[in-house]
Amino acid sequence: MMPPSQISTALLSGPMQSVRRFTVSSLATAVITFAIHAQAQTATPWVAPADAAAIRNPSAGNTAAAAAGKQTYAATCAACHGATGRGDGPAAAALNPKPANYTTPAVEAESDGSLFWKLSEGRGAMAPFKSALSEKQRWELVTYIRTLGPGSHHAKPVTGVPTAGGVPGATPKVARPTQAKTGTAPGVLPTALPPTLPIGPAAVPETAGALSGVELWSINCNRCHTYRASNEYTAAQWQNLLLHMRVRANLPAAQAREILKFLQAGAGK
């Protein structure tokens, strides 16, 4: 490898005039780029309608609902919003505006109804989940999102459900994938997502093996390119694209079908 001093020498090896021109043009390009991007980042505020925001969460404070929501979150939301809800999922780098950071006071200040409406309707790269998830699943999701912020006091243990092995103050036990799949660990609410892929009750009922379409999308699609939001293409276009991907990337057929179902659920019109 060439030492840094030689790199500098190489950079300045042309006539000084060319270097100046190049520097100026590069800076101009950068300034224009950032200016355009700055405008893109200041997106219109997203406000739920007042009547939607006023709807109460039927599963508010229910630990079992939060645990179920955690599984749906890992499968459906973590790719963009990050494993801990900070808006830092693998897809986040390429998204503008950025996915919401659920740990911020701004999100904490939002009503459950507002969050429910937003994840149901979607906007821009945020897919609408009213078709992909049932109403119950979406409320569970909201209940779980409420546990991510620093003031996560919303979800309370359900009476009669053991917590953290019954030891007060002990670290709650993490629901392992196998437990979650069979639903044998209700009420066990982890403080953070487990280090392993938490594969819970499938968000989309019909699955290829244990993984749902959105999980398979999360695993496969970012391997070669940036994530594409489901509403970027129509249902028919997704069908063409998934067939293309099945051939080009040797995507197993069953997995491709599940991914297609997930993407078509939020496809553009």
Partner: protein
């Protein structure tokens, strides 16, 4: 609805007539209507009202049945014979031709669907000792035609605008058919592909080139591999377990590489591929030997955003016009993600090329590339959380005395998930008589759609 309307039309005039009679008649006339007549009229009105209600009920039931039948009709797949008009009805009887019955077609029927995807790039380069300039503009659409669930035609073009050689005037627009294949998905595990194919030697040609790569130019070692070939291929994937793992395979037969000039005296391999057609219109292959090869790989995601893919691939073919000299290539490829922010991939390539004068030479090289998304470390810092740092090291030996090593550092700035700016600095070290291009600074704006 018509029945109800008819009933109403009968009742309303009667009621109107009653009102007129009632209001228009002198008071003395009121006394003329007997209770019996009044009751008879009242009974008639009541009967008509009941009849209307009955008809309305029947009407509602009919509507419900219609809706039910309509939904069943929409959900149920039509028999093939109903989907495609019977070809017989289009054949003039006088011709005496027997059109094949629709049911004879076999297989799923076509519902043609078309989509364009692809990418576009514009690049600015500053090469050491030369002035900086916009290097090219590139537009690479991919056309996808889907006939049904099993048949796909895909064709990729590459339109590139570049200046002519230094000292020359004007510019050149080149159009390449990057690939054009007909894919028949035989079942869940086997796809038959034919046409001009991107060859599965490693994964770079199929899944990393162009806008998919986060560094503007290709690893040098890709120059010693054919990128495409005309022929046929079997490929597919077999799931392993239920956590997303799979074994993938590809096996192909193509015309393989050729020689640069096609005169029979060539000493240089043409990895651009021998498509089997000469400019003179000769349909013969330049050499008689077919090229064979394939790839097998294992993909395993062990937890969220943590996965590994390892593959081994190769091909062997005659390459000179006489078909006497052999070209063989072997590639080991690896790609892994260690969390949402870290990506590492690379390939090792080794080739064996038989020559007349040098015996068997072994051009080889490798590359490894890593990326780190700053959003993993600085999720809340505006602008910086759009940056992915990139680094690559690649090396190439031509097996004739020249080895080139190149280091690349740079970054990708994501303006969106479809548009991003790449900036890289490359420094090159050469050992031998055939030096590669000098150090360079490259910016590229890429749009994937």
């Amino acid at each position: 609805m018509q029945t109800i309307a008819r009933v109403y039309f009968r009742i309303l005039p009667a009621l109107a007539a009653s009102c007129i009679i009632g209001t228009g008649s002198p008071q003395s006339a009121t006394a003329a209507v007997s209770d019996e007549d009044f009751n008879a009229l009242k009974e008639a009105v009541q009967k008509l009202t009941e009849k209307v209600q009955t008809l309305e009920g029947v009407h509602e039931e009919d509507q419900a049945k219609i809706r039910d039948l309509q939904s069943k009709h929409d959900e149920a797949p039509l028999p093939a014979a109903q989907q495609v008009p019977d070809a017989k009805q289009f054949v003039p009887p006088s011709t005496g031709l027997e059109a094949p019955a629709a049911t004879d077609l076999g297989g799923p029927l076509a519902t043609h669907s078309f989509t364009i995807v692809g990418d576009a790039e514009v690049q600015f380069a500053k090469i050491a000792h030369k002035h900086g300039a916009f290097a090219f503009a590139d537009f690479a659409p991919i056309f996808l035609f889907r006939a049904n669930e099993n048949i796909l035609f895909e064709a990729g073009f590459d339109f590139v605008l570049q200046n002519n050689a230094p000292g020359g005037s004007g510019y050149t627009t080149t159009v390449n058919l990057s690939f054009a294949t007909i894919d028949y998905l035989l079942n869940d595990y086997v796809t038959v592909t034919g046409g001009n194919m991107l060859l599965p030697l490693g994964t770079y040609s199929e899944r990393s080139a162009g806008w998919l790569n986060k560094i503007p130019d290709n690893p040098m070692v890709r120059d010693i591999l054919p990128g495409t070939g005309v022929g046929a291929q079997l490929r597919g994937a077999i799931p392993v377990g239920d956590k997303g793992s799979s074994v993938t395979y590809s096996a192909f037969a193509v015309n393989g590489p050729g020689s640069v000039d096609g005169t029979g005296n060539a000493g240089q391999l043409d990895t651009g591929g021998n498509v089997g057609l000469t400019l003179a219109g000769d349909t013969a292959n330049l050499h008689g030997g077919m090229g064979w090869g394939g790839r097998i790989a294992f993909f395993h995601p062990w937890k969220a955003q943590h996965d590994l893919e390892v593959g081994i691939s190769g091909m062997s073919s005659s390459w000179d016009d006489a078909g006497r000299r052999q070209y063989t290539a072997g590639v080991v490829d690896l790609a892994m993600h260690l969390g949402p922010s870290v990506e590492i991939k690379g390939e090792y390539v080794h080739t064996w090329v038989e020559t007349d004068d040098l015996g068997t030479i072994k051009p080889n090289g490798w590359w490894v590339q890593a990326g780190y998304k700053l959003s993993g470390m600085l999720p809340d810092v505006p602008y910086l959380n759009n940056v992915e740092l990139m680094g690559r090291y690649d090396t190439l030996s031509d097996a004739m005395g020249t080895r080139t090593n190149r280091g690349t550092v740079g970054a990708v700035y994501y303006l969106s998930n479809t548009l991003w700016l790449e900036g890289d600095y490359e420094w090159t070290g050469n050992h031998g008589p055939n030096p590669a291009p000098s150090n360079s600074l490259i910016f590229q704006l890429s749009y994937g759609f």
